[in-house]
Amino acid sequence: MLRHLRLRLRGLFAPGRTDAELAEEMAFHVEREAQMYERQGYTHEEALRKARLAFGSIDHTAELHRDGRGSRGLHDTLKDIRYAARAIRRDRALALAGVLTLALGIGATTAVFSAVNAVMLRELPFRQSERLVSLWEENPDRGWYKNVVAPANYLDWRERSDGFVDIAAYTDYPTNVTLLGHGEPMLLNAAYVTGNFLTVLGVSLPMGNGFSSGDDWDNGQRPAIISDRIWRTHFGADPRVIGRTMSFGGRSAWQIVGVMPRAFSFPSPTTDVWLPMLWNPASRSQVSFRRAHWLRTVARLKPGVSTESANASLQRVVKQLQDEYPATNTRMGGGVTPLREWIVGDTKRPLLVLLSAAAILLLIACANVGNLLLVHALGRSRDVALRFALGATRRRVAKQAMTESLVLSGVGAALGAALGWIGARALLAIQPAGMLPVTDIPLDLRVLAFTVLVATVSGLAFGVAPALMATRTSPSAALSSGGRTLAGSRVQGWGRHLVVAEIALAVLLTVAAGLLVRSYDRLSNVPPGFNPEGVLTFSLSIPAARYDSAGKVIGFYEALLARIEATPGVQGAAAIRQLPATFTSWSSSLAIAGRPPMPQGEDALHREFLGEYFRLMEVPLLRGRAYSSADVQGGPPVVVINEALAKQYFTGEEPIGQRIAFDRVPDSNSVWRTIVGVVGNERQGSLALPARPEIFAPQQQDWNRTMFVVAKARPGIDPASLAVPVRRAVRDLDSLLAVNAMRPMTAVHAEATARERFISVLVLVFAITGVALALVGVFGVLAQLVQSRWRELGIRLALGAQRSEVRWLVLRRGATLLSIGIASGLAISAGTSRVLQSLLYEVQATDPVTFITVTILMGVIGLAAALIPAWRASSANPAHTLRAE
């Protein structure tokens, strides 16, 4: 048995040695045979000849012998690969074109797939992450769905529902603290979390013990967990960092009780520091604790409890709370979503659209390479015919052709994987901030397996046509006609199908890109209600410890605006609680004096402003007045409203002079504010949504420590150039403040549509590449046509055909291919573009303008690609071609 194995192995790994032995053995045989003939009286030469004849084909025997060794399959495969490598080396241009095309397709697909893998497939970095869910609130009256939770409701859920091991809460709205004493004042992104946050997630800290559940309530302690990133950048990766304190500019020192694991990116990849809730124990019973909604939650399901039954247990508590707290909870619902779905959220559809686009591009690339190989195979059909004539089996020849395409796709895949790795990094780098909820996109086994699979499938896909072609080669026909007639026409048949498919796919991609680009164009041309040009913005958070009174806060901001306005190049400066078009806003219920209470759920956004904000941002003042320095604390409270609010509540009435309170049912404590002006609508969040009713209160009367500053540059001055003097103005006033998020307002405006731009640009790039490949395909198949009919064209011309007729002949063929391709592409698009609808703004998925534009565009550039071979056809020289016979 062992010996048996050894023989086979030897046959496999040292075929040379076994073959050499066989050769020697057979040579010996022939020699002895010849000696025998010599003894019978033949001459030496004759004897040798006779012996060889008697022996038969040495190669044939060797072949049979090798078959007997049982290593033939692999032996042939190795030979095929060597042969393929030789064939590819011989035709470098073809190989290069094929490999690059494939690498492009595989690279694009791998890059997008690794993002899909990182976001949607990879296990979340939490223990038994499939048991984690997110709980949320909903209120149909207010249009709330998957909304933030009020702390009191959260605490009741946690105490009363029985489907969960535990429920943790955290904040995901932008919160900043200023880290002092570690170089320049540094603004950190903070998240507030409950003490059980890490326990629920099942994450253990590499350093420190983290929070305890007692940290939910303010007990005088100030513990903090820092990110691995901050630990390295600001604490010099100090291994004894636990117990060290840091200052956020307040009275208390925060003690570091933990460093997060390196890739920890929850709630956001940009979170720098996690702080405990530190609620005031007195708040628990206050109505505001149930009225204000601002918590996100994550819960771990009890073992054996399904999401559905956990949800049922939550619904019971929700119902109890509705009965117990009618003032706040009557219409307050709740729900459960698996954490992964929660995190992936609305990145899912864009990612899948991108993946489909990349896959279509890969298909086009495959068709293109298939075409290349067909032409290549045609050039070799004599070769193949010869092999048939010499006794190669069809199977063997087909396998040889497949090997060639697999070798090509293998090289393409290696290059594609590298491109994919780079592409994935590029995706992460150029994505709109926060779109992909991950810190890195690894090239893990799943991605590699995907690449290998894609490469193999595509290798088989584009290899199958040349392989079939090869097996149908008829030796006699190919040898006699020089491979021109039979195989030639078949190649063109296949090639035509491939090109039609390419055009159809390119049309599909282009329609998708067209729809997305058109939608993006519409969206970015929505008037935002303000003019971002020439405006520099930044935000400031002044610490409560040093600015502990209304007077100090207002005084600081007034002094700051005055300083900035005194800076050369600045036309004016103002402050606003939130920038428009940034998706962050505060809302409140409201009452209008002299009217019955509004229905539950009616609310208005509100912001505070200081200075000539509306004038600088060119928000039109429609009635009354806006800012006045006469509005002071203690003076009559005033507000400015936007047009949307005026339209909703004061149609046909004079809003100026009416009074508003920020309570649904006002009581004796309510502050009544008089409307003094109406301004135009700013889009507060997505540009796709109409402006909501909004109320602006002067900062002097409703102060806030965190504000955005807008500085308008004088005409002709780049707002970015104001960055340095404006920073200096802040530092001169208070050197312990960190300037955050400083950027031109135009960048803020662009960010509002960044996601749409990102997706449409990527799909557009895929589409352009796809169209280019399809055009190469059209060009190639027509050039092939001209080449194979060169003689015929020459004869036609010789017989008096007009050159224009010959040109038309080729163009007509091109036009036929194009029209079939475009028509099928449009049909597929019409059937599938609906999946894009939710990504489109004011553009129908079957938008005729896009469909018609794509048709014309494809037609025109397709014909342009056909022109070159057409021209070449008409240049066939009759005398020349005929002489060549």
Partner: protein
Amino acid sequence: MPDPTPSDVLRGTLDLLILKTLTLEPMHGWGISQRIQQHSRDVLDVNQGSLYPALQRLELREWIESEWRASDNNRRAKFYRLTAKGRRALGVETESWRRYVAAVEHILATG
């Protein structure tokens, strides 16, 4: 009467003939083919195209083993030798061959 043309050895019987030939002494390929031809009084001609694959097959079945040694004219040649397993196999194969021949003979006789 014309010389009878040597006929090819039936595929199944070649293994049997090789094994039988090797019971005499270890032999190289050419020797085996000569011996079969002689012993069959020139009736059977061993096709080289079948001989070497057959030797290969038998060696894989471990019925024979091979080694390189000097031949009578001092050239290196590959000698095949019957193994114990091969000897047993020869007995079985011979037995079944005889049964086969007897059966065929019986049919021909009664026909």
